[in-house]
Symmetry: D2
Subunit: 324 residues, 4 copies
């Protein structure tokens, strides 16, 4: 891959499949408290979307005997771009092959991350067409602003845990053409976290080190709201619905997003965020945060909750002597 | 140009040069009320920037005997991309040739829009390096959040008037590789307005029809703030500083941005905005607004101020019988 | 009454009874779009409340063959205070006598304003006790923050039209012990509007001149939200529910409240507001706005909608030649 | 005192005198970062005000060799009310006698709290008259919204530490006619905190237990901003100015205010807050929080910072074995 010019084969993060062992409670949470809308269901999966997601779905919620991420999908910028990416990935030896697609999109090419997470790329998509009851007043929104629960606007990003984040830092630009926007490099050279994007958003995925040394775990998924005040309102809604808030609302030092973390009933961590920044510079230099800088906590001084460094899904016991 | 895939040669809107016949008052407004920061000055020009603009400047304020826009600059994604664009534009017969660049960037290629506005493209830029007193607490911001006046975050977009917007609708994709995101098409087929982008922002430039039939005029420039509440605060700051608010705060139906319009002392229209949406779909279908839909006013019903349809800079008398 | 010290017999505005000739549509609006909660119903009336109103109800919605206000109730600071007020009002010759009270409170003393609006005073109230499903997470809120529709927090104020506002300016301090906080006095001496309060809120009732010369009409009722951003969100909810927004969101010059006006299906004007100020000075000097000052429009320049000056409920035809 | 009716002799909290041993740095903080305005100076004191405080000053900053509170002043509702309060306090045996007043107000009667804090009551005040440069655009604001630094709107409340909060719970209603609005009662019956008000604000003073067992210490003073978003902006301003944020932004469970705590250079704790609620019920029942309820942390789960329980001014060493 020619790194002298940005690569634009991948357009954007498309959807995440989450596994839950409490499918009814999880669905009730996502629809009535978090405020997503059901697009359809098939087999063990329910397809969900935020009101301004333009595709059929951005969350595929699948009943399972475990938790964590089933797979994640990115949409390419064209059919030709999809072919180019597949060729590159096959050379990397991580390919899993084509799958048929589901209710949300056409055929997709699946592959593994070095940590064993399943990714897919697709071009053909099922664009959302709102039924009469969901038609927006303004034609430049995908669906009406229904105002139910937290009502996030769109899928924003997700976060995976990995045993070797440095390996991921090689993998993402090579496989997806992602750019590195921010990273944490500890004093001993360990890459503790890395943030990537394929477009002008400052990140669509974050990878952080798994303190338990387990491969393939999921950290969180995040939908975006428009205003910081909407995150405060979300906190009130979670409070009244008995939903535990792990940390926040507060402002991240990294990425500057205003955040709040909670868990859906299946145990998967869910974030809502607002704000942050866009990256327009084609020659953006990745921000590197040192160990000392991270020790300062979040932007306004909040120390990161201990559970944030340890918990992921599926849940695993913390090894003796390990620490976040 | 191959329209089957998006064109990515141009990275983003870089800067606008505004002409003012009241240079001292204009500078005082931009620095102390609007909240930009001076980066430098040379000749008749002062270079200004918002606190999170990564380049040296995004506004070049030039003393003149007239008002309106001097030129607008876009940055390309690479040197090669710049060459590709120049080749394409020279074929279109609108080229003006290379200029040396100024304090803010390297050599630039200038050309005319069909309406006579001067555009330039450049690759080499002068990245902003904050002096000690402007160093941000968070290293992912370009400059400290100084909190002076309205304190916009970054240059967002600009708006030009044109006699023939349909011609511009052909020009922008051909010259810059811009995508059309929204447009107004009247019952008689006239294109009354058209919004363009070169990246994931839903627009970086809007072109609207000049009701006076004059070529080459400027409508407004807009900086972005992070929150809708910051626009309300801006309104309070303008109010206390005796700055006339032409219309807003309100929410645009087109582009959904939360806006407020005012004038700088030279008479150029200045907007602050927050919100709106991002476009990730590589196959976005332009939104077309009809005459009847526009008659409904802005998102929440505010009718557009009459002056908004007529006034531009430089100022010209409205022809008898003309209407917005 | 001794005007040398503030009078504290009346504690606060308690409730407003609105008449509607579209009771089902009105109820659906207030519960599902505006976001009030039903406390109970009896006869032709449904009792409604905002989530942090401490009394049983603050809105009594009564099916009728007309529209406008049935009556308004204020709660006194004690039983003795109620007796003092009744004695004072009876001397004024405006008394109507005691009524039994309803689901919301104990016996009440009714009387007429000079313009023919029915007021009542009461002391014994029916404090709201939330059912299990409405129990708040924080014990200092009256009811859970349900997040349904606009979700106003509490009743804020109401506005009546009167033929002779100057007469009301005499009446309110004498009858309720209200203080005058702001007023509009036209160049010819006419009192065009007057704002009153019985406590630290800067107003609980506004009286404005009825441009049609009709007695006893209702202008609007207002519930408060906590944040200006919540008013913007309310605008989005009204937009998506097809509810006409008469004017706003904007900031009032008078009282500084951030407002938005709409109509419930029966035609009564409904406001939501946030912000404004509190008055702690016991010797507050009423603010007097001149005709020239009012001509400037609202705080940020929005001109008041023509309908705002004319429409009230019940609806009456505007006399020929009349103007707001 | 007759408790059957609320007592209204005291109108509102008027001002707090803070002592600082770094007077220049403290003044620079309050004016340029916090955003108060200097009204005048005399002797070792500088008088400061928020932009919508109606009196001459609300903060008297006095150079000293120690820190903490010099005294606190409340304004009465009339001269007669002042006399009534003085008579009541003299009977309580806590009176210190009359003082001349200062730049901000007329003669004042001083007395001690049971914990040794100095209070004063006054009626005659020096109403703020803005100089030309500070004249507001809207005549119902005391001073223009200058937008410098955090720009709080008005003094809101203060917090004192006491060895015996139960004694204060007797004292405040008896001395000032304050009402108890919320309190913390531990399992062993200890009153750990108590909130009081003399008007419709839900508190103007909080008293919390001094974990060090020291008498007469000061915990914090708080100015109010209008919006929760303004507190978030304040956090950004503190961040950029190198001002340590002790805790927040977050929402208090008690009083529901959205808060942020910091320290001025002299070491006195300073809060900014927004929101909360008003109490209109004349028969409000104090909210009692149990030990178990307080263990849940703040509204959205943030645990109170350890320093919050221990630090006060003047600073004293924490006794061995003591805990918050």
């Amino acid at each position: 891959m020619d790194l002298s010019e940005p690569c634009f084969d991948v357009a954007h993060l498309g959807h995440v499949e989450l596994l839950t062992d409490k499918p009814e409670e999880s669905l009730d949470f996502f629809v009535n408290v978090y405020g997503l809308t059901e697009s359809g269901r098939e087999g063990d999966s329910v397809y969900l979307r935020a009101f301004d997601d333009y595709e059929f779905h951005t969350l595929k919620l699948t009943a399972s005997n475990t938790t964590g991420m089933g797979h994640v999908g990115y949409r390419t910028t064209s059919e030709a771009a999809l072919e180019r990416r597949v060729a590159a990935i096959e050379k990397m030896g991580l390919g899993l092959g084509w799958v048929e697609g589901d209710l949300g999109h056409g055929r997709a090419y699946r592959f593994n991350s070095p940590d064993g997470h399943v990714f897919e790329l697709y071009w053909e998509t099922n664009r959302y067409v709102p039924p009469e009851t969901e038609r927006p007043a303004l034609k430049n929104i995908a669906q009406r602003y229904h105002g139910r629960g937290v009502t996030p606007r769109r899928l924003d990003h997700f976060n995976l845990l990995a045993v070797d984040v440095a390996a991921i830092r090689e993998f993402m630009p090579a496989a997806l053409g992602s750019r590195i926007t921010e990273q944490i490099v500890l004093d001993d050279g360990t890459v503790a976290g890395c943030w990537f994007t394929v477009n002008n958003k400052s990140y669509d995925v974050a990878y952080t080190r798994d303190a338990t040394g387990t491969r393939g775990r999921f950290h969180h998924i995040t939908y975006a709201l428009d205003q910081r005040e909407h995150i405060l309102r979300a906190a009130d809604i979670f409070l009244e619905n008995g939903v535990y808030i792990e940390t926040g609302p507060h402002k991240h030092a990294i990425q500057q997003t205003f955040f709040l973390y909670t868990y859906e009933p299946g145990g998967n961590r869910i974030e809502v965020s607002a704000g942050g920044y866009l990256i327009f510079a084609p020659d953006w230099e990745p921000i590197v945060w040192t160990q000392a800088e991270r020790a300062k906590g979040q932007a306004w001084g909040l120390q990161t909750a201990e559970s944030f460094h340890i918990r992921g899904t599926p849940d695993v016991p913390m090894p003796a002597g390990a620490h976040g």
